[in-house]
């Protein structure tokens, strides 16, 4: 038996599993993705007529201003914007044509190692406002390329992922770009974001970050359930647990976090809001250090609640990992 034999047997599995997977990855088996293409064909003549110049490649630069866009923050589950988060949100209003679509970088949230970009398009959707889950938007691909540009200190960006949402009947994207290098501080970096459509029309948006980033590393060095928790790192929007183990395979599971007023919050990767990493991290090959990432933007809620909230990390007094509560303050 070899891999091809196994693949052939896999080909012949019950088609219900294929349907289920296709539905979860591509929307629906009945052709919604293809339906998007149909709508696009409908839109194209109007857009082309409206656009005398199709920008195949271009670069836009603009300054930033402070945003008080409560609607944007509400979408992230943030009810009270009067905190540090507000300082990190900047409005861009950078607009360009990407192929036959108008694309605007609306808002950016800057954190020490991570950038969140809210991008609007003029692509019409027949949906209610809100996050779109379980289907893909096949007509615009945002490449997620980003970097500190125009000088020799260039960092490659690591694209974490993208979520789509509908706002006022138009398609919007929420992009998350993380920089794995722990020494990077994006607070005052020059940034760029490259957006492409499926026909490789592209535009590069550029801007300068202007945010005094903040972060904190809490050394732990404690063994829990056979795993050594090295440290817990906080910045404005993320919590990262670093761990290692001698075990061939091991898991780092975040049970809950506790706030200074005793509130216990649980993490969910299924809330359909921004892109999240795992609630669990799994490592293998002993001594390999793994990082498990949790967004503080809207990843946490009280038990059985769907009211996700922004968690200022200074309020976190303990973190329970693999069944052991570890004080951090």
């Amino acid at each position: 038996m070899n891999g091809l034999n196994l693949s052939k047997a896999l080909s012949d599995i019950d088609l219900r599993y294929v349907e289920e997977t296709d539905e979860k990855l591509n929307g629906t088996m009945s052709g919604n993705a293809e339906g998007n293409k149909a709508r696009r064909r409908f839109l194209r003549p109007a857009l082309l007529a409206a656009c005398l110049v199709v920008l195949l490649a271009g670069t836009l630069v603009a300054g930033a201003k402070v945003l008080k866009d409560s609607r944007f923050l509400e979408m992230l589950g943030i009810k009270d914007p009067s905190n540090d988060l507000e300082k990190a949100v900047i409005t861009k209003d950078l607009t360009a044509k990407v192929g036959d679509m108008t694309v605007t970088v609306e808002n950016i949230i800057v954190d020490k190692h991570i950038i969140y970009a809210e991008i609007s398009t003029d692509y019409a959707l027949d949906k209610p406002d809100g996050w779109i889950t379980g289907e893909t938007g096949g007509h615009l691909e945002i490449s997620g390329e980003a970097g500190n540009v125009l000088d020799e200190h260039s960092y490659p960006g690591y694209m974490q992922g993208v979520s789509r949402f509908c706002k006022d009947g138009k398609q919007w994207y929420w992009y998350v770009i993380e920089y794995m290098d722990e020494n990077v501080d994006l607070g005052h970096a020059k940034m760029q974001l490259t957006v492409k459509d499926t026909e490789n029309h592209k535009v590069v948006f550029e801007w300068d970050n202007n945010y005094a980033s903040k972060s904190e590393v809490i050394p732990v060095n404690r063994v829990v359930d056979g795993v050594t928790i090295l440290d817990i790192r906080f910045s404005l929007t993320e919590m990262v647990i670093k761990a290692e183990s001698d075990q061939e395979a091991y898991a780092v599971t975040l049970d809950y976090i506790k706030l200074d007023d005793g509130t216990v919050l649980y993490y969910s990767e299924y809330n359909g809001v921004p892109v999240h990493n795992s609630g669990n991290g799994t490592g293998h090959n002993g001594h390999m250090v793994i990082r498990t990432f949790y967004t503080l933007l809207s990843g946490f809620a009280e038990k059985d609640s769907k009211e996700w909230q922004f968690v200022p990390y200074e309020r976190i007094v303990s973190v329970s990992i693999n069944g052991t509560e570890i004080p951090v303050r």
């Binding site: 088609l15 979860k24 088996m29 409908f42 694209m159 992922g161 795992s278 990432f293």
Partner: protein
Amino acid sequence: MLKEDFLSDNQIIELFCDGSESALEAVSKKYGAVMLRLARNVLPDEQDAEECVNDTYLNAWQAVPAAKPSNLKAYLLQSVRNAALERLRSSRAKKRGGGVTVSSFEELEECIPDSRREEPDDNEKLRLQLESFLAGLSAEKRTIFLGRFWFSYSVTEIAGKMGKSEKYISNQLYNLKKKLRKHLDRKEG
């Protein structure tokens, strides 16, 4: 808009049953892109991928009237995948494994326990074991596993489609491969 542009699956199947060539045009229009994409995911050569999709149209022309599949898209994708695997097998045999990148299949090969590597191919037995393995997974894990090994999507593509990080998908795949290896070993023992 969707209804104006695409025939329903039942309408297409009726065209196949009537022997109308419009059936092929309708299938190509509605599912051609996704079929070609799957073929490309499996086959490194563009021409091979296109020929594989053409083979599938021919197979559909012959088989759909009798099969009357309840889900035409899944049926066609399965047909594309089988045709692509057959081409891949043939291509590997010709090239003796050289020059062909088959990363997802090589990855799947890691799941075969040593005790079964010399075992003669028994497609039906393997299929049943795979189905029992899949039945024991959560829907999310099944999606990740089949996204990688059935649809041959890259880790990056799966992460993007599911709104997860690449690291998360990689970790899940690592665990799933380990689990399948155990499952296949246990079934044998």
